[in-house]
């Protein structure tokens, strides 16, 4: 009973609350961009280490599989937040474009990694620097 209560408590603490104002929505968008930047940069660093032959195929596959899952979860969580006004719609639209490109890029990386194809992996990683810049710019603008 006590364990169940702790579990419910932790689940409640970890829940994403709905955005009730523009400021709140902007804060959630900013946090989403930071989380996605973390996933994108992890993928970027993993690819760089792969290109320098500093890591193993199973490790690359695992790491990039995790970044893909993270990316999907981050984008999915943001999509479920209700934008409260028109200004929030604009932020949502801007960030959604970046998130969509990020999730598809992370998926392509995972596919290339599981095929252990370095050429395909290098090609799939090309959008990462631009994505990273876009996310950093979004974070700065929406601080």
């Amino acid at each position: 009973m006590r364990r169940a209560a702790i579990f419910v408590f932790v689940a409640l603490v970890a829940c994403v609350a709905p955005a009730r104002s523009f400021g709140s929505f902007q804060g959630k968008a900013n946090a989403t961009a930071k989380d996605m930047l973390s996933a994108v940069e992890t993928a970027r660093l993993t690819v760089q280490l792969t290109q320098r032959r500093k890591t193993f195929s199973p490790f690359i596959s695992t790491a990039l599989g995790e970044t893909e899952r993270d990316g999907d979860a981050i984008a999915g969580a943001f999509d479920s937040v209700q934008p409260p006004d028109a200004r929030s719609d604009k932020i949502r639209s801007d960030l959604d474009q970046i998130l969509q490109l990020a999730t598809s890029t992370l998926s392509n990386l995972r596919i290339a990694a599981r095929r252990t194809n370095l050429v395909q992996l290098t090609g799939a990683a090309k959008p990462l620097p631009a994505l990273s810049e876009q996310l950093q710019h979004f974070i700065e603008v929406n601080q």
Binding site: I6, V10, V13, A14, A31, K34, D35, L37, S38, E41, T42, R44, L45, T46, L49, R52, R53, K54, T55, F56, F59, T62, A63, E66, D70, S132, L135, Q136
Partner: protein, 295 residues
């Protein structure tokens, strides 16, 4: 993806069932030293000077509030000292039949082994601060921990790190499963331990088996194991005074300790630490709510 989990669970159970306590302790303790590669990698990176300014200036990082800073501080304390370790350590003393002659080994363990573990933890954090934080990477998976070592030492370093991590995680699974058996058996007054035949301590072994099964079932769900660990260590920190205080009482009881009771200076340090743990215990849940578990 997680199809290997039942196999690992079986291996954990078989190890506890078949291998002697002292063999488990020495084998996993010594092989876990492979994690020293994180310390060597950090030094070899030649970038430790980056860490000093922040280390000297104790304040939250830019953009992080004091509550979140203290929440993660509590998480670190909980990770370094969890209540289950008290049970595995004290039960281990009975399992191995410690005498006064073992005091030196245990002092070495406390004065060398524990700080070494702390240095490895610091090296992991230092590696993340140098290689990951500047890129905006927030560590949420074990695989990310391998990236700094891989960047410094390449495949060999990564292989040593993964080996050490595997040993440490497997060792932790053994410890927590056995600890569950010790805690429940000692609470209910059942016969416990690996120093008797399994047929003489059936409820102890059943508890261990059920714990392993529950752990494996939890790991087979989509629950994030890192998050589960994070929440459990934070809640452990809140419970620390409940295990620390009785030990402090016993450490001052000549009936148990003979002439080895705590000295007054040691008691002063121990009491100051108890006060710290009480503050932590009171602050943990409010900080967890205020910071949304450090988010």
């Amino acid at each position: 993806m997680r199809a290997w989990l039942p196999l690992v669970a079986l291996l954990v159970w078989l190890t506890i069932w078949r291998v002697r306590f002292s063999a488990i302790e020495k084998f996993y303790g010594l092989l876990g030293l492979a994690l020293i590669v994180t310390v060597i990698a950090l030094i070899h990176s030649g970038q430790t000077h980056i860490l000093w300014p922040e280390a000297k200036h104790l304040a939250p990082p830019k953009g992080e509030g004091l509550p979140t800073y203290f929440y993660f501080g509590i998480a670190l304390l909980g990770a370094a000292m969890t209540p289950y370790e008290v049970f595995i350590f004290s039960s281990g003393a009975v399992e191995e039949g410690w005498t006064r002659a073992d005091l030196m080994v245990n002092r070495a363990n406390v004065y060398i082994g524990f700080p070494l573990g702390g240095i490895i933890s610091l090296a992991l954090m230092g590696g993340a601060a140098i290689f990951l934080a500047p890129r905006g990477i927030s560590v949420s998976h074990l695989s990310q921990v391998g990236l700094p070592v891989s960047a410094v030492f390449g495949k060999i370093g990564l292989a040593i790190l993964l080996f050490g991590m595997g040993i440490a995680i497997f060792g932790a699974a053994l410890e927590t499963a056995m600890s569950a058996g010790y805690i429940l058996s000692q609470y209910f007054g059942w016969q416990w331990g690996k120093f008797v035949r399994p047929s003489e301590a059936p409820r102890f072994h059943l508890t261990v088996l059920v714990t392993i099964l529950l752990g494996a079932c939890l790991a087979l769900t989509t629950v994030d194991p890192v998050k589960v660990t994070e929440y459990s260590i934070v809640l452990s920190a809140a419970a620390l005074p409940l295990t620390y205080f009785p030990i402090l009482v016993v450490a001052n009881d000549p009936d148990y300790m003979g002439d080895k009771t705590n000295s007054p200076p040691l008691n002063a340090i121990a009491f100051a630490y108890l006060v710290l743990l009480l503050v932590v215990a009171v602050a943990t849940i409010p900080l967890m709510i205020v910071t949304k578990a450090g988010q």
